[in-house]
């Protein structure tokens, strides 16, 4: 009983009704159906959407992978994945609804066009039997080398009716040239508005809350600039190592794994101008302006590190070079810190310090806006020694929320000032589970809303910055490893701020 928005115009009974926001009928093809992403993220997300009746009423899924298996084996494997990784109770009726529309196609690049003919036949059956109307979402949950064959195959067999959308998982290239080549390949077969480059960070509720915090609260925007902000610190810290992904990580390193996408997206959301509305291109236009304004940092403003043996939660963990599959003399960085500048009217001369890495002291993603001190605190120096600058701290994960550090009087004689925190914890105010990022992003793609996906020009700007940093990295050879697992990175990271009379914020 989905009622389309455009019916409202002529049907007065629709006024005031909360209309179903279920997307139009469609079929979803997942390339890489035997992979970890499909098992851990995509199917649990699809199940949660089905659980909440958010998927299209007419829907079907085709899983495509190399492994030979039957439809039933595919269903059983995905059922086990949903039971293991899903966030909702497992309900047989929900699963059966989803499983009823699941099919599996085994195939590889060596099968040539046959596999795409088989997929096309399955999708045509869906259109006839399940009413999916020729609408398609193709999800590339495969490594980049497989992109070309698949994109060409989809392009050749794309539906003559309905819409076709393509979701591409990162990495979007490994440098500027490869990113441009990937874009050229995609654009041979798809228009830009049909391409959905997914960075799951943008699907996180707390990342989106950044937009609410900035643009729904009149108190922040007037002080969100170089006049009032001393500097910004963004931390994306993980305690885990490379978790068996040596092949990928040896080529990517921290700069391609985190900096190029997640970190630059967080900077763009933090620093962007208010968009005129929340339409996809309005938001992305403002983000691109930030990326275009970013000053390429000099060699002294970028620090890289690699973890050695150390301790995480009291347990000894190996150094990066001792990880399985890693070159024992690897020069891949597992940590990056940088001092960045945005050359525009709002942020000129305001440093943005970023750091990201693996095997750090704790898992956290935070954005800290540190404000300038009071111009003339009328207290004795000793009275205010416990006072630190005001910091607005946005916790992306874990403990999603916002806190503000303010100075307060210590009770008692005299006037002693201490810093205290006012905390807003997301889960404390809104007693509902936060949806997984993939749930939001999958449903947005089905609705054709690209706001939370990365546009071509964003990717290009990101790689231009990364390529400039990597170019000067090629000219020196740091002594790796240079930080112990379980610490906050190499000493040079602290030095980066100490030179400016600042320090990384306390944890």
């Amino acid at each position: 009983m989905a009622l389309a928005e455009d019916q409202r115009i002529e049907n007065p009974l629709l006024e005031g009704l909360q209309l179903s926001r279920r997307p139009e009928p469609c079929a979803m093809v997942i390339f890489g159906a035997s992979g970890d992403l499909t098992k851990r993220k995509l199917f649990p997300a699809l199940y949660s959407l089905a659980y909440r009746q958010l998927l299209p009423e007419k829907f079907g899924i085709v899983g495509v992978a190399r492994t030979e298996e039957s439809d039933d084996e595919f269903r059983e494997r995905m059922k086990a994945a949903v039971q293991e990784f899903g966030r909702d109770d497992f309900r047989d009726d929900v699963w059966e609804w989803l499983a009823d529309g699941m099919h599996y196609v085994a195939g590889t690049a060596e099968d040539g066009d046959d596999v795409f003919v088989h997929i096309d036949e399955t999708l045509t059956d869906f259109d006839r039997d399940r009413g999916t109307s020729g609408n398609r979402v193709h999800y590339l949950a495969v490594p980049p080398p497989a992109f070309e064959t698949i994109v060409k195959g989809i392009g050749k067999h794309r539906s003559k009716q309905g819409w076709t959308r393509l979701i591409v998982e990162k990495p979007f290239g490994h440098d500027l040239q490869s990113a441009q080549e990937l874009n050229t390949l995609l654009h041979k077969h798809f228009d830009e508005n049909e391409i959905f480059r997914i960075d799951h960070y943008l699907g996180k509720e707390t990342v989106q809350n950044m937009l609410a915090l900035r643009f729904a609260n009149g108190i922040f925007e007037p002080i969100w600039n170089r006049q009032f902000v001393d500097h910004i610190q963004i931390t994306v810290a993980e305690t885990i190592g490379i978790e068996g992904r040596a092949d990928y990580y040896e080529h990517a390193g921290a700069i391609r794994d985190i900096f190029q996408n997640h970190l630059l997206q967080l900077i763009a959301l933090t620093a962007m101008e208010p968009p005129i509305d929340f339409a996809a291109d309005s938001v992305r236009n403002e983000k691109v302006k930030v990326l275009k304004s970013m000053h390429t940092p000099g060699p002294k403003h970028v620090v890289r590190g690699q973890y050695g043996l150390g301790y995480i939660e009291g347990q000894e963990v190996p150094g990066y070079r001792e990880e399985q599959g890693v070159d024992p003399s690897s020069m891949t960085e597992t940590f990056i810190a940088a001092k960045l500048f945005i050359d525009n009217w709002r942020w000129a001369d305001t440093p943005i310090y970023i750091r990201a890495g693996k095997r750090l002291a704790r898992r956290e993603t935070t954005i800290a806006i540190q404000f300038k001190g009071a111009p003339h605190p009328p207290f004795e120096e000793a009275a205010a020694e416990g006072l630190r600058p005001n910091v607005l701290l946005i916790h992306i994960q874990p403990d999603e929320g916002v806190s503000l550090a303010i100075g307060a009087k210590v009770p008692g004689q005299g006037l002693q000032i201490r810093t205290v925190h006012m905390d807003f914890l997301y889960g404390g105010a809104f007693r509902t589970d936060l949806p997984e990022a993939y749930e939001r992003l999958l449903i947005d793609c089905m609705r054709g809303d690209a706001s939370l996906f990365t546009r071509e020009d964003e990717v290009i700007e990101q790689w231009q910055l990364v390529d400039a940093i990597v170019a000067f990295w090629r000219r020196d050879r740091p002594s790796f490893p240079n930080y112990a697992a379980g610490t906050w990175g190499p000493p040079s990271s602290d030095e980066l701020l100490r030179r400016d009379g600042r320090s990384w914020r306390r944890h």
């Binding site: 009983m1 404390g428 105010a429 007693r431």
Partner: protein, 279 residues
């Protein structure tokens, strides 16, 4: 541990003491103040619905029990904790106050000092509100939204006329209206055939019948006859003698209905028009 308190100041001191007693891992976050006006005959039903509500909507809840005899007030303050992830607990306050004599006639002076500043105030009124009386007038003066359940009202549709008079003073939610929410999209899906309907028969509560008829009249902007067959829940609708399809899904439980209304902040012009057309 709840203790009897006989002044608003004592209640405020107790609230402050509870807050100071919080350990570091207990988090106090409020999104609203929830006032419930519960005459004696509604006490049991009200407590059932309130159970679990604070967990879903972290709030300060003030439950007012008007009494016909005596003087002054008797308050009890309780703090409830609900586990959150990451080892934290969320903590909310429930204040129960028996109002006697003048405090039952002028409850705003009791309630106002206890409101959480700057947050919306929801007033849940059990039974028919005494439109025009001081207690009701005062409390809708401090509330942003009134929540009633006209299923609890005898003599419908007459009381709707009195309620329509307060629409300009605050936003109103009616749980009886919320109970028709599964049926309205289904009836809307019958467009355009439903545009010509002359008569609606509703098997459900009186309130549901009146509100569905009022909704059709106001949306289609013409008179439509109503036939009501009593039932304690909405089980069927006929349009000009033809049964309408049954909507999918299960009817929501009372706590969910109230919980949903506590998420709404603005006026509902479609509901207001339905109430006016029901009279």
């Amino acid at each position: 541990m709840a203790t009897a308190l006989d002044t608003v100041s004592a209640i405020e001191r107790k609230l402050a003491a509870l807050r100071l007693a919080d350990e570091g891992s207990r988090l106090r976050t409020n999104v609203m103040t929830h006032i419930a006006w519960v005459p004696e005959e509604w006490v049991e039903a009200a407590e059932d619905v309130l159970a679990g509500l604070a967990e879903r909507h972290p709030s300060r809840t003030i439950v007012l029990f008007p009494q016909s005899a005596g003087a002054g007030l008797e308050g009890k303050v309780e703090s409830e904790s609900f586990p959150m992830s990451e080892g934290l607990t969320i903590c909310t306050d429930t204040i129960r106050i028996r109002l006697h004599g003048t405090s039952a006639e002028h409850p705003a002076s009791v309630v106002e000092p206890l409101l959480v500043p700057d947050l919306p105030v929801f007033l849940r009124w059990r039974g028919v509100p005494p439109f025009g009386e001081s207690a009701f007038d005062e409390l809708i003066g401090v509330a942003d939204r009134l929540i009633v359940d006209s299923t609890e009202w005898p003599g419908l549709p007459k009381p709707y006329a009195r309620m329509a008079e307060i629409f300009d003073r605050l936003a109103v939610s009616d749980i009886a209206w919320a109970r028709t929410s599964r049926w309205r999209p289904m009836l809307a899906s019958l467009w355009p055939a439903i545009a010509k309907v002359e008569r609606i028969k509703v098997t459900g509560t009186e309130a549901q019948a009146q509100l569905l008829a009022g909704w059709l009249r106001s949306r289609l902007d013409r008179s439509i006859g109503l036939e009501h067959e009593p039932s304690n829940k909405l089980v069927g609708v006929e349009l000009d003698g033809e049964p309408a399809p049954f909507p999918p899904g299960d009817p929501p439980i009372p706590a969910d209905l109230l919980s949903d209304e506590l998420d709404k902040l603005s006026r509902d012009p479609v509901y207001e028009a339905a109430v006016i057309a029901a009279v």
